[in-house]
Amino acid sequence: MNNAPWLTILLLIPILGSVVLTFLPARTSSSLSKQVAIGFSVVTLLLGIALAIGYEPGGGYQYEEDVVWIKLFGAHYALGLDGLGLALVMLTVILTPIVMLASWNDGDHGAWGAKGFFAWILALEGLSIGVFAATDVFLFYVFFEATLIPVYFLVAGYGGPQRVKAAVKFLLYSLLGGLVMLASVVGLYVESAKTKGGPTYLVSELSKIDFGTDVGRWMFLGFFIAFAIKAPMFPVHTWLPDTAENATPGTSVLLVSVLDKIGTFGMIRFCLELFPEASRWATPVVVVLAIFSILYGAMMAIGSSNIPRLIAYSSVSHFGFIVLGIFVMNSQGLSGANLYMFNHGLSTAALFLVSGYLIRRRGSAEIGDFGGVEKVAPVLAGLFLVSGLSALSLPGLSPFVSELLVMVGAFVHSPWAASFAVLGIVLVAIYILWMYQRIMTGPVREGVVGMRDLNSREIFAVAPLLLLILVLGFFPKPLLSVINPSVDHTMSQVGTSDPKPAVTEGEAQK
C-alpha cells in the first residue's frame, strides 16, 4: 500500500459517521439512520480487512504516522500497528457492525433514540481504534479517557432501571484510574525531558530510557492501577457487574470485549515495555492478584442469579487468565494472553448478545425466571450453548488454544500458580453448564411459554462470531503468526530470555 494515513482514515470514518448521524434532520426515520450507521461501520470493517491483508507479519510497526502535535509537551500524533494492535483493531471493527445488527431495536426508547445510540457507538469505535493504534503515550491517554464519554452516555441513556447510577460508578472508577495514570504520564514527561533529546512521548523513544528503580516503580504503579481498574482485576472490578447488569447487551459487548482490553493491552504495551524492571519486581503480587481474580470471579459467577452479572463475573475470571499470561513473562504465557484477548472478545460478545436476545424475550434477566427454553426456542438455546462452551474453552473452539497456552506459561513460571489457576477452568464449567441447565432445560416455565425463536437478523448477527470462534479454534495460525512477532518484541523489551527448556527448568526450580 502507499503512504496514505490509513489509520487516521480508519478512525475518522466512524467518527465522521457519528457526526453525520448527529446532524441528520430530526425527521429522518430511525431505520434510515440505522442503515447509515451500519453503512459507516461496514466501510470501516472493509478498510480494516484491507489493512489486515496488507499487513506483513513480523514487520514490526506498520502503517506508521508521526506528526508533532504539541512540541513543548513532547506529544506526537503518532499511530502504528504491531501484531497485537492489529488484532485488537480488527476485533473492534468486526464487533461494531455485529453489535449494531444485534441491537437493531435496543436504542429506540433510550434518551436520544436510535440515532443517538448508533452515533455514540460509532464515536466509540473511532476512539477505540485510536487507543489501540496510538504509539505515543500522550495520544494514547487522550483516546483512553475520551472513550469513557460515549460509554457513559450509552449506559446512562440506554439501559436498565439503575443505569444512571451504574454509569456514574463506571465513569468515576475509570476516571480515578485515568487520573492516577495521568500522574505517571506527567512523570514520563519529566523523566524524558531530562534526556538529551528533550521531552518525548513516543513509545519507541521512551522504551530506550532507563528510568531508575524508584521512579520506574512509581510510574509503573500509576499505569498498572489504571489498567487493573480497566481490565478489571480483583479488587477493583466492582464496577463491571453493575454496569453490565444495567447496560444494553450491545453496550456490554463493546465495553467488555473491546474497551476492557485496553487494560490488558496497556499492561503489555506500557507496563512491560516501558518499565521492565518494575514489572519483574511486581510479578509476584500481580500473579497472586490474577489468580484471585480467576477464582473469585468464577465463584461470584456461580453465585450470580442474574445473567449479565454472571457473564460479567466470568469476564473478571477470564481477565485474570489474561493478566496471569502477561505477567508470567514467558513466550507461551504472553502469546496465550494476546490470543486470549482476541478470543475472549469473540466468545463474550456471543454470550452477551445471545443472552440479550433471551432477556429481551422474557423481559427479565433473572435466571430463576427461565426454564425449558430449549423446547420453545431451540435455535436460541443452541447458539447459547455454543457461546457458553466457547467461554469454558471447549477444545475445538478458539478460546481453548489461548487458555492452554496461558496454563503452559503459568506452569513454566511456577507449578503452584498453574495449579491454582487450573481450578478456574473447573469452576467455569460449573457456572456455564449450570446456567444452561437452569435456563434451557427442565419444564417450560410460565413466562417462557410461547417464546419466539430467533429471527434471521438475530441469527445473522451472531453467526459470524460463532464461525470465527470455530475457525480459529481449529486453525489459529493466521492469528498467531500476526501476534507472535509482537510477543517476541515484548519479550526482548522485558529482557527475559526465550523459554528454552534449560531456562524453564531454572525458572521452575526457583
Partner: protein
C-alpha cells in the same frame, strides 16, 4: 537636588493601561452629560472601543518588545521602575483584555430581563420599597457599570505588571473597589447581592490590611519597595530573616485572598452566588488572571531566591485549597455556589503549577516552566468559566435565573443545546481530554512535577477525581433526571451572550485539540524581567 525632576514615563509601553483608565473616566463624563436613553448605547460602544484599542496597543507593545525572540529576558521596566512590561505581563494584559471584552458583552445583555440590564435599576433604592418599584416601572438602568468595570480592568492590568510593592497595592485597590460595588448591583435577589458586596468588601479590606502590613515588614527588611532591590537584599540576606518571612506571609495572605485559596476562600461562594452573574463571570475569569499574574511576579521575582522558605507554605495552601474546593463542592445545591467551589479547586490546581518554580539554569531550553504552565491554565480556565456562567444566565424561571440545582433537572430535554454545551464545559473543568481543561491540567502538573512537587501532584489527581464526581452529577441531573414541576426554561439570549458562549466553547475545544501554538508562545514569553 535642585528643583523637581519630572518622572520619565514611557507612554507607549503603558498606553494600554492609560487607554482603559481614560475611557473609564470618559464613561463617568458620559453619565453626567449624555441623556439617559442614549447612555446605554454610548457606554457599551465606548467600553468596547476602549478595550479593543487597548488590545491593539498591547499587541503593538508586544511586537515592539518582541519578548523571547533572541534573548529570553526581554521586556522593559518603565515609569521609574513602577511597572515591568515583559512577556508574562503582556500575556496577562491580552488575556485580561479579551476576557473583559467578552464580559462587557455579558454586562450589556438586555434580552434576558425584558429589555433592561441585569443590574439594579436604582441601587440606592432600598429593596422592597416604593422607590424600588418606581425605578423598575420607569425602566431605570445603572449604565455606570461599564465605567466601573473599566476601572477594575485598569487595576487588573497594573496588578501583574507592577514592579514594586506600592504600585502593586494601588493596583490591588483599584481593581477591588469597583468589584465590591458591582457585586451589590444585582437586579434580582438584591439583599443577597448586597450581602455579598458587604462580605466581599469587609474581608477584602481586612486582607488589604494584611497586605499593607506585609509591605511594611518587607520594606523594613530590604529598605526598598522595588522588586529588584528586594531580590538583591534576599540574595545577599541582609537584615533580619524574621522581618522577611513575616512580610512574605502577610503579603501572601493579601494575594491568596484575591485568588480565593484556602483558608482565605470563605468569601468566594457567597460572593459568587450573590453577585450578578455577569459580574461573577468577570471576577472568576479576569480577577484570577490578574491576581495570579501578580502572585507569580512577586514570588518569582522578589522572593525567588529564598523559595525554599516559602514553597512549603504554598504546598500546604495548594493541597488545602484543592481539598476544600473539591470536597465542599460535593454538597452544594446551587449551581453558582458549586461553580464557586469549583473555582476554589481550580485555584488549587493553578497553585500546583505555581510550585513549578525552578532556577533559570535548571530549566532546559524549550521545556515547560511554572510561569508558562500557570498562564496557560489561566487561559483555559478563563474562557471555560466565562462561558459556563454565561450559560447560567440563560436558564431561568419566573424568579430570574434558576440557580438551584433541582431546577436544572431535565434541562437536556428542554434544551439539548444548552445542556450539551454546559456538559461540555463541565467535562472541560473536570479535565477530560480533547478539552482545554485537560491540556491545562497536564501543563500545571508537569511543571510542578519537574520541580519535584510530586506529592502535591498526587493529591491533585485524586482531587480531580473527586471534582469529576460533582461535575458529572450536574450532567446526570440535566440529562437523566425528570424535571420538577414545570421544569427549567431557557430564554434565548441576544447575540451578545451568544457570542460569549460561542467564543468560550470554541476556545475550550481548540485549546484541547491544538494547544501547540499557544504553548509554544508561552514557552517563549514565560520569563520575567527583573
Amino acid at each position: 537636588m535642585n528643583g523637581f525632576d519630572a518622572p520619565k514615563i514611557e507612554y507607549f509601553q503603558v498606553s494600554p493601561i492609560l487607554i482603559v483608565l481614560g475611557v473609564a473616566v470618559l464613561g463617568v463624563l458620559v453619565e453626567a452629560f449624555v441623556p439617559r436613553r442614549r447612555r446605554y448605547g454610548v457606554q457599551v460602544v465606548l467600553a468596547l472601543l476602549g478595550l479593543l484599542a487597548a488590545i491593539v496597543t498591547s499587541v503593538m507593545v508586544f511586537l515592539d518588545l518582541n519578548p523571547g525572540s533572541d534573548s529570553p529576558k526581554s521586556g522593559k521596566v518603565v515609569a521609574e521602575g513602577a511597572l515591568a512590561v515583559d512577556g508574562p505581563a503582556l500575556f496577562c494584559w491580552l488575556l485580561i483584555l479579551v476576557l473583559a471584552v467578552l464580559s462587557v458583552l455579558l454586562f450589556a445583555e438586555r434580552h434576558l430581563e425584558g429589555g433592561v440590564l441585569s443590574f439594579a435599576g436604582q441601587a440606592a433604592a432600598l429593596p422592597g420599597t416604593e422607590a424600588e418599584r418606581e425605578a423598575s416601572t420607569r425602566g431605570l438602568e445603572h449604565t455606570e457599570v461599564f465605567p466601573l468595570m473599566l476601572f477594575a480592568v485598569g487595576g487588573m492590568l497594573m496588578f501583574p505588571a507592577s514592579n514594586d510593592l506600592l504600585t502593586m497595592f494601588v493596583a490591588l485597590e483599584v481593581l477591588s473597589l469597583p468589584l465590591y460595588l458591582l457585586c451589590g448591583l444585582a437586579r434580582r435577589r438584591r439583599l443577597l447581592s448586597q450581602e455579598a458586596a458587604m462580605k466581599y468588601f469587609l474581608l477584602g479590606a481586612f486582607s488589604s490590611g494584611f497586605f499593607v502590613y506585609g509591605i511594611a515588614l518587607v520594606y523594613g527588611y530590604a529598605g526598598s519597595m522595588g522588586f529588584a532591590e528586594i531580590a538583591q537584599a534576599v540574595v545577599s540576606s541582609t537584615g533580619s530573616e524574621g522581618l522577611l518571612l513575616g512580610g512574605i506571609a502577610m503579603l501572601s495572605v493579601g494575594l491568596l485572598f484575591k485568588i480565593g485559596a484556602a483558608p482565605f476562600h470563605a468569601w468566594t461562594p457567597d460572593v459568587y452566588q450573590g453577585a450578578p452573574t455577569a459580574v461573577t463571570a468577570f471576577m472568576a475569569a479576569a480577577t484570577k488572571v490578574a491576581a495570579f499574574g501578580a502572585l507569580l511576579r512577586l514570588f518569582y521575582v522578589a522572593f525567588g531566591a529564598n523559595r525554599t522558605d516559602w514553597t512549603p507554605m504554598i504546598w500546604v495552601v495548594a493541597i488545602l485549597t484543592m481539598v476544600v474546593g473539591s470536597v465542599l463542592a460535593l454538597t452544594q445545591t446551587d449551581i453558582k455556589r458549586m461553580l464557586a467551589y469549583s473555582s476554589i479547586a481550580h485555584a488549587g490546581f493553578i497553585l500546583t503549577g505555581f510550585l513549578g518554580i525552578r532556577s533559570l539554569n535548571e530549566v532546559a531550553g524549550g521545556s515547560l516552566t511554572g510561569v508558562s504552565a500557570v498562564l496557560f491554565y489561566l487561559t483555559t480556565y478563563g474562557f471555560t468559566t466565562l462561558a459556563a456562567f454565561a450559560l447560567v444566565t440563560v436558564v431561568r424561571d419566573a424568579g430570574g435565573e434558576a440557580t438551584h440545582l433541582s431546577r436544572w433537572q431535565g434541562l437536556g430535554k428542554e434544551s439539548p443545546l444548552v445542556a450539551g454545551l454546559f456538559a461540555f464545559l463541565l467535562l472541560a473543568m473536570a479535565g477530560i481530554p480533547l478539552t482545554s481543561g485537560f491540556t491545562g491540567k497536564w501543563a500545571v502538573f508537569a511543571a510542578a512535577m519537574s520541580a519535584g512537587a510530586w506529592p502535591v501532584v498526587v493529591v491533585a489527581v485524586l482531587m480531580s477525581a473527586v471534582a469529576a464526581y460533582f461535575y458529572v452529577r450536574v450532567i446526570v441531573l440535566m440529562f437523566f433526571a425528570e424535571p420538577i414541576g414545570e421544569g427549567p426554561s431557557v430564554t434565548t439570549p441576544s447575540v451578545l451572550t451568544g457570542t460569549v458562549i460561542a467564543v468560550g466553547v470554541a476556545v475550550t475545544l481548540l485549546l484541547g485539540l491544538v494547544p501547540g501554538a499557544l504553548i509554544d508562545l508561552l514557552g517563549r514569553v514565560g520569563v520575567f524581567i527583573r
